[in-house]
């Protein structure tokens, strides 16, 4: 059942990202829905689930991107793993933690993507990229992640025991 749910999620997230997210872009910056989903799976599911979902989502994202076919494929599972590890021994999943985690992981993702792009193509000024893409996208991802968390809590108020070992 879980496999089917994850497969449906993967099939749904990237089309939404490609077609609909342009409508909610702010100054041309769109949130990375795949990153938010992978991090939430890491927070609410297990690290393994987050890694697998990250692989699938990252690969699907690369398929429809103008860039190389391996950037997100490598990056998204790592982000899912980090999110899973960060929340494993956490007692309370507070909004501040989620906000900080999403912000941090998105900043990390943006920086790595910048480095990959500079490595494979014409280089650009890091500060321009940070101001124009990395920071705004990180803020957007964090806010979107927090909103998604609020929605998830309406449906599933407690995390699985595997993720939150001492969660009450």
């Amino acid at each position: 059942m879980k496999v089917v749910a994850y497969a449906a999620l993967v099939l749904l997230v990237i089309p939404v990202q490609i077609t609909l997210l342009d409508r909610i872009s702010i100054a041309g910056i769109r949130p990375d829905l795949a990153l938010v989903v992978v991090c939430l799976i890491g927070l609410y599911g297990s690290e393994v689930e987050a890694v697998l979902a990250g692989l699938a989502l990252g690969f699907a994202q690369d398929l429809f991107s103008g860039g190389a076919l391996w950037g997100n494929l490598c990056l998204k599972p790592i982000l899912g793993l980090l999110a899973g590890l960060a929340s494993r021994n956490l007692v309370n999943l507070t909004w501040a933690f989620v906000l900080a985690l999403m912000l941090g992981l998105s900043l990390l993702s943006g920086t790595v993507m910048y480095l990959l792009k500079s490595f494979t193509g014409p280089g650009a000024n890091f500060f321009l990229a940070a101001r124009g893409i990395i920071l705004p996208q990180a803020c957007y991802d964090a806010v979107l992640g927090l909103a998604a968390l609020k929605l998830i809590r309406l449906w599933k108020p407690h995390r699985s025991a595997l993720t939150a070992l001492t969660y009450e």
Binding site: I18, T19, R30, L63, F64, S65, K117, P122
Partner: protein
């Protein structure tokens, strides 16, 4: 003692007298009626006060009737009219959208007929899933004869080239992406260079000869030497010349002719080299300006 007959007779006499008086008054010349009219004006003024009050009451009753009692079906009518307005608004929007789409499609069809190369029309269905690349997803792919490196154009000019092709979809890397490169030439001076995207969302033509007389406002078109574009398609207009010391070439910033934020339908040039002759200037390009003396190289 007064008899009943005499009383009745007196009444009759009084009535008769009154009738005579009225008849006399009516028969009086108009000029003699002034005192009566003056008296009548005072009386009319006195009567007009209750008359106005009654009129006010009457209007109130009319209003009450009109607003509340006689409007028992207005709510339903109002609801129906609102639905009708909403439907008409939707229809107006749809008609407007259809009109805009038909204009776009007509331009695209005209371009397709003008281009002496086989083309496939496609619809833009999405944008790059990341903020790092500037690309589009179009709803045509390998099954429609598309392949990697084919050029994509609109009536305004070129927009990019296909970098990934799947059965039913293809990914188009836009001209304004720094990873894209297209061969171009300055239409007036015939200087060739490489057009690539910039981080600012514009394009730049590089490797122009140092002695080139290129200037701001010159039109850049595709050279057709390499890539998936035929010769002579508009790329953009030069907005800034960059001359740097100790560099062997010039470069110039280009403002693309296409608005990349409003792309909906595109044409993919499937075979830019099918025709051996040059295209007969398919676009209303700028008329060739007077060549400078420096162009005689």
């Amino acid at each position: 003692m007064i008899s009943l007959h005499s009383i009745a007779g007196g009444k009759r006499a009084a009535v008769l007298l009154l009738a005579l008086l009225i008849a006399a008054l009516l028969l009086l010349p108009e000029s003699r009626q002034e005192p009566l009219l003056a008296l009548g004006r005072h009386m009319a003024a006195a009567v007009s006060v209750p008359l106005r009050a009654m009129e006010w009451v009457n209007q109130g009753l009319d209003g009450f009737w009109g607003r509340y009692v006689a409007l028992q079906h207005v709510r339903e009518e109002n609801f129906t009219l609102r639905q009708e307005i909403a439907r008409l608004r939707q229809e107006t929007v749809r008609m407007r959208e259809t009109a805009v789409a038909s204009t776009r499609l007509r331009d695209l069809l005209e371009l397709r007929e003008r281009l002496p190369y086989p083309t496939v029309s496609a619809q833009v269905v999405g944008r790059d899933p990341s903020n790092w690349y500037r690309s589009l997803v179009i709803n045509r792919g390998l099954q429609d004869g598309l392949a990697v490196d084919m050029g994509v154009v609109t009536p305004a000019g070129i927009i990019g080239r296909i970098v990934k092709a799947y059965d039913r979809f293809a990914i188009v890397l836009l001209l304004i992406d720094p990873n894209n490169a297209v061969t171009g030439l300055v239409q007036r001076t015939r200087d060739e260079g490489i057009v690539e995207g910039t981080e600012k969302g514009l394009a730049r033509i590089k490797y122009l000869p140092l002695l080139s007389t290129v200037k701001v406002g010159d039109q850049v078109v595709t050279s057709g030497l390499a890539g998936g574009f035929p010769r002579g398609l508009p790329v953009g207009t030069i907005t800034k010349i960059e001359r740097r010391e100790a560099e062997l070439f010039l470069s110039a910033e280009i403002a693309p002719d296409t608005d990349f934020t409003k792309l909906e339908e595109v044409l993919v040039v499937t075979s830019p080299r099918e025709s051996t002759s040059l295209p007969p200037m398919p676009f209303p390009l700028q008329p060739p300006a007077k060549r400078d003396a420096g162009d005689a190289r």
